[in-house]
């Protein structure tokens, strides 16, 4: 790409990226499908800051005074709620989208850090059940691989209504990733594109969902928690309806949330930012007197302990990570740069998860590529990363004088700009002004 010369002015409307996309569309006649999450800049947790303690509050001593990080999920109806050592969990990512080695690495890392992993579209593999100490089983519209034996083996069930990357959309696993094994798990011929429906086949609407949740509870004898996962859009109403339908846990996925394969136009233009969705969910829960009784897991663009702590302060009980977990395993690692270049990408930009050519051996079903990922080593890397997230969140919580991550509160936050202040419902830094809220 040419260096910018003085006098050559790039259009803000028709930027080179936009021009490139128009030309790509004209060349191929097909929309762009890709993995990863939204790439555009939207108001995010970076726009929030913590107010550390000083005179009016006092902090806790780092390393010496306790700051709890554990969480219990599914206390509402389940006989066996899930107890985790850290509030950071691993989001649902399917075998099919990911290699068996990548799934195993996720399980190993999560076990070491004392947290859960989640299956995905395509069902539960025996390996992941064996590896993951705590495994959440997704119940998706496609019902690929869904069966009552696996349902009874799960530690929790997650009814997926939507994903932040594509609220209102189904899935697509392209033929090149459909090996014999993936095809068999999904009861479909090998090598053909697999479309996942966007709506569940046997229920529509919240009243039906209540009966569906009851069915899953009956089959599992009310033992395990039932989560409901929604993509962030009309979050306030969706959370109220999910609670009414009997969810033990709400999983709220914001628009930055990752995906294995979705149209770019969907990823970038549907849904609301994670930060904007949390206060809506929390308000819905509080109005129903269900905050902390129905737990809230938040995902979509979580990268650091600061993001984790900010989710907690806004009222989440736990978070889930997808993209960041894959990066910790080795996705987009500079050591594969040459290989990324060969397939028309570069380390740091790779998002073609759907193509199955991942040089790091993660989003692929090619046995040679998959063998590049050592599940033990990658699992260790994920555990390291999870521990860093937890420790960073603790550092911030202690600075705010909190003896548990769950004691963080909106009052500990301020916003750097008006947008973030309005969305997160916290004051603009240095003022007591929360846009949209009157306080005379």
């Amino acid at each position: 790409m040419s260096e910018k010369q003085p006098g050559l002015i790039e259009s803000a409307t028709f930027s080179r990226d936009v021009i490139n996309e128009i030309q790509r569309a004209a060349d191929t006649g097909i929309y762009d499908i890709r993995g990863f999450g939204a790439k555009r800049k939207v108001p995010h947790f970076d726009d929030l800051l913590f107010l550390g303690a000083s005179m009016s509050r006092y902090p806790l001593e780092g390393y010496r005074e306790k700051c709890g990080t554990d969480v219990t999920l599914g206390t509402r109806f389940a006989k066996n709620p899930i107890k985790l050592d850290t509030v950071v969990t691993i989001a649902g990512m399917s075998f099919g989208a990911l290699s068996a080695n990548a799934k195993e690495a996720l399980g190993r890392g999560a076990n070491m850090a004392g947290t859960s992993t989640t299956t995905g579209d395509g069902g539960m593999t025996p390996e992941e059940r064996k590896t993951s100490k705590t495994l959440v089983y997704q119940y998706l519209p496609s019902r690929y691989g869904m069966n009552p034996d696996d349902l009874r083996k799960a530690d929790a069930i997650e009814v997926v209504l939507g994903q932040g990357a594509k609220p209102g959309g189904g899935g697509m696993l392209l033929g090149q990733k459909i090996t014999d094994r993936v095809a068999k798990m999904r009861d479909l011929p090998k090598g053909i594109d697999q479309r996942s429906a966007c709506r569940h086949p046997d229920w529509t609407g919240p009243d039906d969902l209540a009966i569906k949740i009851q069915e899953l509870r009956e089959i599992t004898d009310w033992n395990v928690p039932i989560y409901v996962k929604i993509g962030a859009t009309r979050t306030y109403y969706d959370v109220k309806l999910a609670v009414k339908a009997g969810a033990d846990v709400i999983v709220l996925d914001g628009m930055q949330g990752g995906t294995a394969a979705t149209q770019d136009v969907f990823i970038e233009h549907v849904g609301i930012p994670t930060m904007a969705a949390i206060p809506q969910a929390v308000r819905a829960l509080q109005e129903m007197d269900m905050h902390r009784k129905v737990q809230l897991i938040v995902s979509g663009g979580i990268r650091s302990g600061a993001d984790v702590a900010k989710c907690m302060a806004l009222g989440a009980d736990a978070v889930a990570i997808g993209t960041a977990a894959l990066i910790a395993l080795g996705c987009n690692h500079p050591k594969w740069d040459e290989e990324y270049q060969k397939i028309g990408s570069a380390a740091g930009y790779y998002d073609d998860y759907h193509e199955g050519k991942c040089p790091a051996g993660i989003s692929t079903q090619d046995p040679e590529l998959a063998a590049r990922l050592d599940p033990e080593l990658a699992g260790r890397r994920l555990a390291n990363y999870l521990n860093v997230l937890t420790m960073e969140a603790q550092t911030l919580a202690r600075a705010c004088g909190k003896s548990h991550l769950h004691n963080l509160e909106p009052e500990d936050l301020v916003a750097l700009n008006v947008e973030a202040a309005a969305m997160a419902g916290v004051p603009l830094a240095g003022t007591d002004w929360i846009p949209g809220r009157h306080s005379y």
Partner: protein
């Protein structure tokens, strides 16, 4: 052994728990009276038992069934035998929407009519409907057979994968990628077998076979509006 339940006296929870608690190899006969539209009756069974349900069932009756033989002496609500793996479910009356949805195996027989989306996303189950089926039946059906002795509503077999559909009566319209196909000897044999298992007298030769044209199997630009 014969067990008796009455849903006027006992809850669905008590019934289901008692059935789940039976040993894996139990072959008991269970009689349940007064279904009264209760939802989720006899779901998650996993033993070769026979269950007789008397009355009309609500949603998801016999959902995820394995091995058991369940007879509903009445009508069945939405999603009867959804995601069944094996065994047999027999509805003596009519069935509401999404009968046999996503079911992987076993046999579902409906003596009356089935409403919309019968066999939606089916993954290996065989379904025999002695009456007619509603619109979008076998939508995205992956494998197994759907046999309809009456008529089929609009958009039959839309976005079909590998399900074999046999209809004796009129088909209102076919869905995207579903086409009429030649009835070969192996199909006649498959159909005769299913009709026999379901206790139907119909002549297999009077049925027409429908299946996937397999044009949507790999994404093609020119089909974009069909996805």
């Amino acid at each position: 052994m014969t067990m008796k339940f009455d849903l006027k006296q006992q809850t669905v929870r008590e019934l289901n728990q008692a059935l789940h608690d039976l040993p894996k190899d139990a072959t008991d006969e269970i009689n349940v009276d007064n279904l009264m539209g209760e939802h989720n009756v006899a779901v998650g069974l996993d033993q070769p038992i026979s269950v007789n349900l008397n009355g009309h069932a609500g949603y998801y009756c016999a959902g995820m069934n394995q091995k058991a033989e369940v007879v509903i002496n009445g009508n069945a609500g939405q999603g009867v035998a959804e995601n069944m793996m094996s065994g047999k479910v027999h509805v003596k009356g009519n069935a509401s929407q999404s009968a046999g949805a996503t079911a992987h195996g076993g046999l579902l027989v409906i003596d009356g009519d089935a409403a919309a989306r019968c066999g939606i996303s089916m993954k290996g189950v065989d379904i025999v409907v002695k009456g007619s089926v509603g619109h979008m039946s076998a939508f995205m059906g992956q494998s197994g057979c759907l046999v309809v002795c009456g008529d089929a509503g609009e958009a039959l077999g839309d976005s079909l994968y590998e399900v074999h559909i046999y209809v004796k009566g009129r088909v209102e319209s076919l869905g995207a990628d579903c086409v009429k196909k030649e009835m070969r000897a192996e199909h006649l044999e498959e159909l005769s077998q299913l009709l026999k298992e379901a206790g139907c007298e119909d002549d297999p030769a009077e049925f027409t076979r429908y299946g996937s044209a397999r044009q949507l199997y790999t994404f093609k630009v020119d089909n974009a509006s069909a996805y």
